[in-house]
């Protein structure tokens, strides 16, 4: 599917909470029109509905503006939400900034990098590993959690599920106007950061190229660099080789 692993992990956490507690899952994304596919995927996996925020004015948003836009939409669409789940994962998020900033925008408590979630009544208990500290944390709902990947393997879309999700019409579309937002606050225009330029990082250095059969290459490598390799591993390769 198109959904990135971080968001799949967040959806998986939502599905597990719903299985245990009941509730309703709304998948929300801000992106170009084709981001609708991600919402279809979310519905196929079990989300109850999808919300797409799409507008040319929203393009090029930095994380702060992204969280602003998402927050205003959430307040409009589900003002009485219990829990917002985001992906985070050091291993795959672009910045891992949207989740914490969304918690600030929504003015709810939030915890990042969560691995275990247990909801009981109006409180949620979480476990996370942060900088070599295993923490157990608790907060009252409503709140926001960003979850790491790789704790629960996300489920797969059931056979025929995607088609069914395409047929279902549970996707609501919002643009800046229907959210009541000023385009000047959104996208590139609203962003505090500016990209000066993009380039490929410093090009290569002069190097030695070895080709041939693997065996021959290994021999060449040892002929030229046995001192270097031997030095790093703390063993004298040359002498050993001669004695063989």
């Amino acid at each position: 599917g198109m959904m990135n692993p971080a968001c799949r992990a967040a959806l998986e956490a939502a599905l597990r909470i719903r299985e245990a507690q009941g509730g309703e899952i709304t998948a929300i994304t801000m992106g170009p029109p084709m981001a609708e596919e991600v919402l279809r995927e979310a519905i196929a996996l079990g989300a109850d509905r999808g919300v797409l925020l799409s507008d040319r004015a929203m393009a090029g948003a930095d994380t702060s503006v992204t969280s602003f836009t998402l927050a205003r939409a959430i307040e409009k669409i589900c003002p009485r939400f219990d829990l917002v789940l985001c992906g985070c994962a050091t291993s795959d998020s672009e910045t891992a900034q949207v989740g914490p900033q969304l918690a600030e925008e929504l003015q709810v408590p939030g915890v990042g990098y969560v691995e275990e979630i247990t909801v009981s009544g109006r409180a949620v208990r979480m476990e996370r590993l942060a900088d070599h500290f295993l923490e157990t944390l608790e907060m009252d709902l409503p709140g926001l959690i960003t979850v790491t990947t790789g704790v629960h393997a996300p489920r797969h879309v059931p056979l025929g599920g995607l088609q069914a999700a395409f047929d279902a019409a549970d996707i609501v579309l919002f643009d800046a106007a229907s959210l009541g937002l000023d385009p000047a606050q959104l996208g590139v225009k609203g962003s505090a950061t500016t990209i000066l330029g993009v380039n490929s990082p410093a090009a290569g250095k002069k190097n030695i190229v070895l080709t041939g059969t693997p065996k021959r290459i290994v021999e060449q490598l040892f002929e030229s660099f046995d001192d270097k390799i031997g030095g790093a591993i703390g063993k004298d390769l040359k002498r050993d080789k001669k004695s063989s």
Binding site: A96, P100, A130, E138, I217
Partner: protein, 346 residues
């Protein structure tokens, strides 16, 4: 009244002090930047018993001790310190509030924050509260002629880097991965000023409650410190072929690293991830097998002294970065190398 000096702030992330050198690395970079704007370098420390975090037995300077003294010895001109029992454990909301208040009062030019787990969550919250921009995971920080902080960060997928600035809003903020910059050596003769900031009286209760915390020090040998690292990428082809690296590591007394696709495919543990999202390495020799050389990976390998890359494609970015570029099938070369090593080391 004299004009206030422009200030570059570094968040004093002292938890895990001995493993976590990122604050010292940022202080060092901040010194370089401060020279260019004739500014001062300030560390900001929130905590409790901050005097006792660092064993000061070796320090020659009796005036400054603990975390504060360490930061001054490593380049801070000034340390803002809020020390209070309420701050004994790291707390996201409270720390964000303290930073917000202090920054609104003192108006620093820049705030640099280490990309620890805490820092990565803390920085975006502070940026949001201050209404300013933030660049994540910078691999370079410089000043341009206009006096703006140019933040170099990986861009779109990883074969590109972008230069990002925050033209108008202040402070300019960035997070930086541990290992990106070099700390300056401890100099106990340096002096600095300590500004004690009292805990606000109206501090609200933290909405996130810490129930339990347990220190889990990293186990075993660390790839970050290994002299020999063998990194494998998607080009190795399969989990089974990747596993040869462990045999090779045994022979070479090295550690095994992996790229992100490899970790995703479960050929290797997340612990082995080398790159922007994982570990930074600085081995004497880095062997790189079947790795394309995306910036998110290579930015964490810049400390490698000697790089031997194996790739079918001689034009792969990793091959250009290598001292020795070996055009071969990664897995076959690996097998040949194992055989040769077994013979020559015995």
């Amino acid at each position: 009244m004299s004009a206030k000096r422009r200030a570059i702030w570094v968040f004093g992330d002292y938890r895990n002090y001995f493993q976590n050198r990122v604050t010292l690395q940022l202080l060092s970079r901040a010194r370089d930047l401060a020279k260019k704007i004739d500014g001062e370098v300030c560390a900001v420390v929130f905590g409790h018993w901050t005097e006792e975090w660092v064993d000061d037995a070796l320090s020659q300077n009796p005036t400054f001790c603990g975390v504060v003294g360490e930061y001054i010895a490593h380049g801070a001109d000034k340390v803002y310190l809020t020390d209070h029992p309420r701050l004994a454990a790291y707390s996201m909301e409270t720390y964000a509030l303290l930073m917000e208040r202090l920054a609104k009062r003192e108006k620093p030019e820049m705030i640099l924050i280490g990309a620890t787990t805490f820092g990565r969550e803390f920085a975006p919250r502070v940026a949001k509260r201050l209404g300013t921009g933030l660049t994540a995971d910078c691999i370079g920080l410089d000043m341009n002629d206009a006096g703006l902080l140019v933040q170099t960060a990986p861009f779109f997928g990883g074969n590109l880097v972008a230069q990002i600035v925050t033209p108008e809003r202040r402070p300019q903020m960035a997070t930086v991965r541990p290992g990106t910059f070099q700390e300056i050596p401890h100099d106990s003769c340096r002096t600095g000023k300590v500004v004690k900031v009292p805990l606000p009286k109206d501090l609200p209760a933290d909405r996130v409650r810490l129930i339990r915390v347990e220190h889990r020090p990293p186990r075993g040998r660390k790839i970050e410190d290994a002299h020999v690292v063998l990194c494998g990428g998607r080009g190795l082809g399969s989990k089974k072929k990747f596993a040869k690296l462990y045999e090779l590591a045994e022979l070479l007394n090295g550690e095994v690293g992996a790229t992100r696709p490899v970790v995703y495919a479960h050929w290797a543990d997340h612990d082995a991830l080398v790159g922007q999202a994982g570990k930074h390495i600085k081995p004497q020799i880095l062997f790189s097998f079947g790795i394309s050389g995306a910036i998110q990976h290579t930015a964490a390998c810049n400390g490698a002294k000697f790089v031997i890359a194996v790739n079918k494609n001689p034009n792969a970015a990793m091959m250009k970065k290598a001292d020795v570029a070996i055009v071969a099938d990664a897995s076959q070369f690996c097998t040949a190398l194992i055989q040769e090593l077994k013979r020559s080391i015995r």
